[in-house]
Amino acid sequence: MNVALAWWLTPVNLPQFSLLLLLNFSSDMNRKRSLIPDAFRVKKRRFGADNINGHPEHGDTQADGPPDVKATLQYLMTLFPRKLFNDSLPQIVFKHQLYSLHSDKTLVDKQVNELRDKGELLMFQLGFGSDAFGLVFSEDYRTKVLAMEDGRSTLGTVEKFLDKVLPGCSDLSFSKDKMLKHFLFTDSEITQLVKSGVLTVRDAGSWWLSIPNSGRFTKYFIQGRKAVLGMVKKSKYNEILKNDLQERRTTSHVKLDIKYHIHDIIGAELVECIQTTSGTLLRFVDT
């Protein structure tokens, strides 16, 4: 019937999808036994010591269905310390921090791209690793940037940039002729944008989209990441329970929330996440 046809035609088969198909089809035939899902139940995916991807604390994707990336983003944004930067920076979350909370990375990437296309989310290349992308909600970004520009001479240009460029174009970087011809900015306006911090130099004739005054954030982040990784490395056997790490007193090097850093190191796969009977264990990955 339709079920068999759908199976035959789709080349990409998510295990959950096929599971649903099979359950629908066979529910009348096998009420007592669960033989058919056995054919597709991943036997190795018990939560044993081998499992790399730890049980996500915020919404289990295997139970729920497609991951709700927006809700996770909002949760992660609450971990960002606003007072530290005197409320001048919008809340920044890294794309790989989402991987620590959801097990299917491809779906997370897809949803992030959808949010970016809708214009709700902005992605930035923060400069310390080609894979480290920062995510900021567009409204946050606008309010903070305009608040900072208030009273300065560059306000007009920045407003023009935010209104013309950001809604339509979701690029991370802009080249000179794109700015001049497509968006009709003049050279002096581009200089003003760079001065205000909205654009950063990438190469001769091209610029990254950036967050003004984010230099301090990047510095604290890198310092904090090194310090938290150091804490994991110094532990016996290079491993520490996640709950223990959260309870530990952080040195003065770690200025951001330790949970923020923990999501970062798990998502960037700098530590391995192993499920144990006493909770999640983080083991340093030596590469």
């Binding site: 295990p15 033989l35 058919i36 299917d104």
Partner: protein, 400 residues
Amino acid sequence: MLSFITARQIGLDPPVRLRRAESARRVLSLELNHDREVERIHGNGINTIDIEVIEGRYMLSGGSDGVIVIYDLENNSRKLQYTCRAVCTVGRSSRHVHRFSVETVQWYPHDTGMFVSSSFDKTMKVWDTETLKPAEVFQFEGNVYCHHMSPIARKHSLIAVGTKDPKVQLCDLKSGSRIHILQGHRGEVLSVRWSPRYEHILATASADSRVRVWDVRRASGSLFTLDQQNGDQSKTSTETVNTAHDGRVNGLCFTHDGLYLLTTGTDDRMRLWNSSTGENTLVNYGKVVNESRKGVKLTVSQGCSPEFVFVPCGSSVMVYALHTGEMITTLRGHYNNVDCCEFHPDYQELYSGGKDCNILAWVPVLRGPDTEDEETAKVKAGASAAVNPAFEDAWSSDED
């Protein structure tokens, strides 16, 4: 399982569905088995293995000491415990053995009378399996990293060779000529692969971070280069624009139907590409550790319904689902780095070889008894001689 069989019986399902589901289930239960092992001949690490396509019976392996061994994989002994014996070897004592490590071996795709091996001694030898003497030797200027013969070619018999030289050489088996060159790469060519779908399409991966797809009939250069950003030039720094990876690309594998191409690179990433358009499908496998200076030999399962990728990573083999990118499991068993792995499509077994000189066979675990049969199985087991007769109680409580 029974409902699959019933559905196939009454014609609700196409027959291939049951086969694919069962193959996938077998792959998901791969494990090291006490009963199956491969005889240990190599004295130094194993760089490459190849299982012939015709019968799936003979396996070639090439080692770092230049030795080439042929194993018989078929179990004719009627016992469960089986060691795959070496049928013949091109050992260090042979006059024609390679002087340095053998990097790639491949059976001739149409029969097992011939195989080709290429090595760091800058030669590629075409061997006759009967006499174990090379019928043809191709000499090159630089180390030969890899070679590949098209598995489906009827109109040509070209071997694509990737060497230290940025030019990809095509050697013709029929005439012995090697004048056909593919130019375009700027670094050493670490991996070459013919498409299993079209006999003229070739993919090459190089240390200059680019993967090029060629049509060998076309004189004017590659068809396209794989771009990890799919043409979006804004995402990365200007040096990595139009590259497949942010480091050396050292592993290439086509899926069995030839529609997708997998590449791995030293930036610890693995990417899945649509092989006809060159588009990055953006499947995120996470960090696939890759520290190899030479090629990485990954392989894809065949005939299963979610296909699986087997990648050697360090001293284990990682198994990923092909289209969703999730990591299924890690196969641990080697004592040192794993260099190569090969999937046997008929039995859904995986053979992997590494620096610890072992070839390990990963065999699907047999299905246990069903829940309904468990009680009968238990009763049977209790009744049979599972108990050592020395512990059996001969004493009876009856008066008689």
